[in-house]
């Protein structure tokens, strides 16, 4: 009885807080934006874009400091969160690496050390081949791999990260075997493909657009349940909206996306989490944010609270399934 009353009371309190901003939490020191990638990476751009929008629209009174902690594929940032338990003046920027890293590497943090605040964007994945490649459909690429197992090479960023996971998923779905070659970042991967050193990659739109504009690479399909937003034509009269979905062209993976996520350390008070998710919600409604989403060809869905929690649970479960099949899980 008591517990119930208490929980009702807390819900009410939370509701009042949402309604009456005046009572809400305010950061007391400059807010640290801890970025789980090196300078110049996709996560870094994500955090710095948010920083610039908050500055421009004065969405927070305190200033912000960006701190890059990209060591160990980003684990460094989340370990820093563990050390700063309950500190409400620090935000952590990552992808799905926050909840996937502890499954593939023995690390001193777990999901228990983080609280999700919001996901602001979802990055798409595509199959890309060289501009003058003999493969014009995903099916042709799959056929080639079936004819010659381990003979067709995919390049990707890092090892056991989103790219290799997706390639493993393609293998498991289509019963093929590719060769996977890990490089340091998406830009390098794009150049390896443009130079013809590998057969294909699964880069995000932003990582390959420069090469596509020049016709050095071309997209075969996108891992999404619906085609991407229509936009300006990029090369040869074709734009993002003209790319077929992979599910409709022979690779039965309905959707594979990487969320761009913001976290706080565990033990951060509820009102602080609410405050930050409100600020980020406002960020996601600015024209500058729409511009960033368009430029990087991501999908701009805002998730917070329970829907975000549900998304993380589903995404973690399905990806861990792939890890298990590949034997990557660490105990």
């Amino acid at each position: 009885m008591k517990v119930k009353a208490l929980s009702i009371g807390m819900t009410l309190a939370a509701a009042t807080m949402l309604a009456g901003q005046a009572l809400a939490f305010e950061p007391t020191r400059p807010v640290e934006f801890v970025v789980a990638s090196g300078p110049g990476g996709g996560t870094d751009n994500f955090a710095r874009t948010i920083q610039s929008i908050i500055t421009k629209h004065k969405l927070m009174d305190q200033s912000m400091v960006v701190l890059n902690k990209g060591g160990g594929s980003g684990a460094e940032a989340f370990l820093y969160a563990r050390k700063n338990e309950g500190d409400p003046n620090k935000l952590y920027f990552g992808t799905n690496n926050a909840y996937l890293l502890p499954h593939v590497a023995k690390l001193a943090y777990s999901m228990e050390d983080l609280r999700p605040v919001a996901a602001l964007a979802f990055d798409e994945f595509l199959i890309w081949v060289k501009g003058d490649s003999e493969y014009t459909t995903p099916a042709a690429l799959i056929e080639a791999a079936k004819a010659k197992p381990n003979g067709v090479t995919f390049a990707g960023s890092q090892s056991k990260d989103t790219d290799e996971t997706l390639v493993a998923l393609i293998e498991q779905t289509t019963g093929t075997k590719f060769k996977y070659l890990p490089f340091n970042g998406g830009g390098e991967v794009g150049v390896q493909l443009a130079g013809g050193h590998v057969a294909a990659n699964v880069n995000n739109p932003n990582e390959n657009i420069g090469q596509w504009q020049a016709g050095a690479v071309k997209p075969l399909c996108v891992f999404s349940d619906k085609p991407m937003a229509k936009g300006e034509p990029v090369y040869d009269g074709k734009g993002w909206g003209d790319i077929p979905t992979c599910a409709s062209s022979g690779v039965n993976i309905p959707s594979y996306k990487m969320p761009r996520t913001v976290w706080t350390a565990a033990g951060t008070p509820d009102e602080a989490v609410t405050y930050y998710s409100d600020v980020l919600k406002k960020v996601s409604e600015t024209p500058e944010w729409a511009e960033y989403i368009k430029k990087t060809s991501q999908t701009g869905d805002f998730l917070a609270g329970q829907p975000l929690q549900d998304f993380i649970t589903t995404s973690e479960k399905s990806t861990v399934g792939v890890f298990e099949a590949e034997g990557w899980l660490v105990k």
């Binding site: 300078p39 110049g40 610039s52 421009k56 590497a105 890990p182 430029k295």
Partner: protein, 504 residues
């Protein structure tokens, strides 16, 4: 010719009072971050990025690029004066720069460094102007095997003619390689040699090690020698600057060779640090007989500085044209580019000519501005060495620790500085060379992952390193650099042995 017209258009963009002011501000800020070890160009540029949000892209990149040039100049200053490299790429400058300054010729050392840096940068920009489209296509031909060949070449060029005992060189090199494997491995995705310590997750930072080895190590040696700052109550005469400038034509071969090395390493992914080491190694092998390298030979300053700057400028090209930054600073600038709404890639040159050529024109002007500014500061910096050790010593310690902390805001790095300070001191006493350790730390992990990638691609066959014209040539040159000097030494040894035998 078309490039020339575009360049003139670029000058029109860059030569406005606003942009010239930005260049001067950028170069001065860069000098400051360059002089402070640890707070290098990448940190400096990322601190400035938020300020550029409100600017138009051309002004923003001019400010950031000028800061980069300033930092490259500033990095050499502390290398020469205090044996503390302000930037990773100025490590090789310490080898001869510091001994020269110690022998009372700090003005000469600084002037040599700055002038050859300026020339190197100029060559780099000319190459970008003339060859932008060709160079971008050329860089596309580099796959994993070619990357490895380039790193291998840098190793061989440096080691082939090491002056220290081969076994000591091997020990130092292996230690460096070992240190470079700490942290997460790109190719396998597993953690190595972290011993469960969170602090080692992102590896042992090369800059922190260098600050310890050179900065603290040198200080310990000074203290052991009896608490007086080694060297230098030299007369500071501004005319020395001009005298040194007239000296430069003597080193024309070194300058040409070093710029070529720098341009090559800047366009391919070697980067400025590898370029300066390689160029120093080559200079040591091919210079006319004279004073030993490492004792303050002018070529030992000219070679790394020229290569460092021509590589630094050329590194902008793969960043703009391919979206692949070949130095940490270029990576940060590329991040800025994306925030300003530009897409680096082959089409940037045709879709944003104002931006690209404005930047290239500004590189000519900013480097010119940079050389003049730093030459003006030479007498002041040189005078720093006259301050008594009791004052400057503690300041150096403070700068070293602040610098090491700035690298990653991590207190565990401070312990590393101390440990490597002791290592540097011991290495010096036992006459182990430090340079191979540093080189292995810079290139070790890159060389390892590109080797591993090549092996995956070729299913484990070493034949991949001779599978095409390009990679085969680089590998052959590398092996030649490694083997020929040793063979010559061996033949000489046999000859002298024979003569001894016949005499007996």
């Amino acid at each position: 010719m078309e490039n020339f017209e575009l360049l003139m258009g670029g000058f029109a963009t860059a030569l406005t009072p606003m942009h010239i002011t930005l260049m001067i501000v950028g170069v001065l800020l860069g000098l400051i971050v360059g002089v402070l070890p640890g707070l290098g160009a990448p940190n400096g540029v990322s601190l400035l990025i938020p300020l550029t949000f409100a600017m138009d892209p051309v002004s923003a990149i001019i400010l950031l690029a000028s800061m980069y040039w300033g930092a490259l100049f500033g990095g050499s200053t502390t290398s020469i004066l205090f044996n503390i490299p302000g930037e990773p790429s100025s490590v090789a400058t310490t080898f001869d720069g510091y001994p020269m300054a110690r022998s009372g010729q700090s003005t000469r050392a600084l002037t040599l460094a700055f002038m050859s840096a300026g020339i190197g940068a100029f060559v780099g920009i000319v190459v970008i102007t003339l060859l932008s489209s060709w160079a971008a296509r050329f860089a596309l031909r580099f796959g994993a095997a070619e990357y490895f060949a380039v790193y291998f070449l840098a190793f061989c060029a440096f080691i082939g003619m090491g002056s220290a005992s081969p076994i000591k060189t091997a020990v130092s090199l292996s230690l460096g390689l070992l240190l470079s494997t700490v942290g997460m491995d790109t190719v396998t995705g597993s953690l190595r040699l972290t011993f469960g310590l969170d602090a080692l997750l992102s590896g042992v930072s090369f800059l922190v090690v260098v600050i310890g080895l050179f900065g603290i190590g040198e200080l310990l040696a000074t203290v052991q020698d009896g608490l007086k700052f080694r060297g230098v109550a030299s007369r500071i005469d501004p005319r020395d600057v001009f005298k040194t400038m007239l000296e430069l034509p003597k080193y024309i071969t070194t300058i040409i060779r070093s710029s070529a090395v720098g341009v090559w390493m800047g366009i391919t992914p070697g980067g400025p640090t590898a370029a300066s080491f390689m160029s120093y190694g080559l200079a040591r092998q091919w210079s006319k007989p004279g004073a030993k390298f490492g004792t303050g030979r002018p070529e030992g300053i000219v070679a790394p500085e020229t290569a460092d700057h021509s590589a630094g400028t050329c590194a902008m090209l793969p960043m703009l044209a391919l979206g692949v930054p070949s130095s940490a600073t270029a990576a940060v600038m590329m991040g800025g580019l994306m925030i300003w709404g530009l897409t680096p890639g082959p089409m940037l040159f045709s879709t944003q000519p104002d931006f690209v050529w404005g930047l290239i024109a500004s590189m000519y002007i900013a480097n010119f501005v940079g050389v003049i500014l730093v030459l003006l500061t030479v007498p002041f910096f040189a005078a720093l060495l006259r301050i008594p050790f009791a004052i400057i010593g503690p300041m150096i310690v403070a700068i070293c620790f602040v610098g090491a902390y700035t690298v990653a805001n991590s207190t565990s790095d401070l312990w590393l500085v101390l440990i490597f300070g002791v290592v540097g001191f011991v290495f010096n006493k036992l006459e182990f060379p430090l340079a191979p350790l540093v080189l292995a730390m810079v290139l070790g992990s890159k060389a390892e992952s590109s080797f591993h990638q090549s092996m995956i691609a070729s299913d484990g066959s070493l034949g991949i390193f001779f599978s095409n014209y390009l990679v085969g040539t680089i590998m052959t040159i590398a092996l030649a650099l490694l083997i020929i000097p040793q063979t010559l030494k061996f033949i000489q040894y046999l000859k002298s042995h024979k003569s001894v035998d016949s005499a007996a």
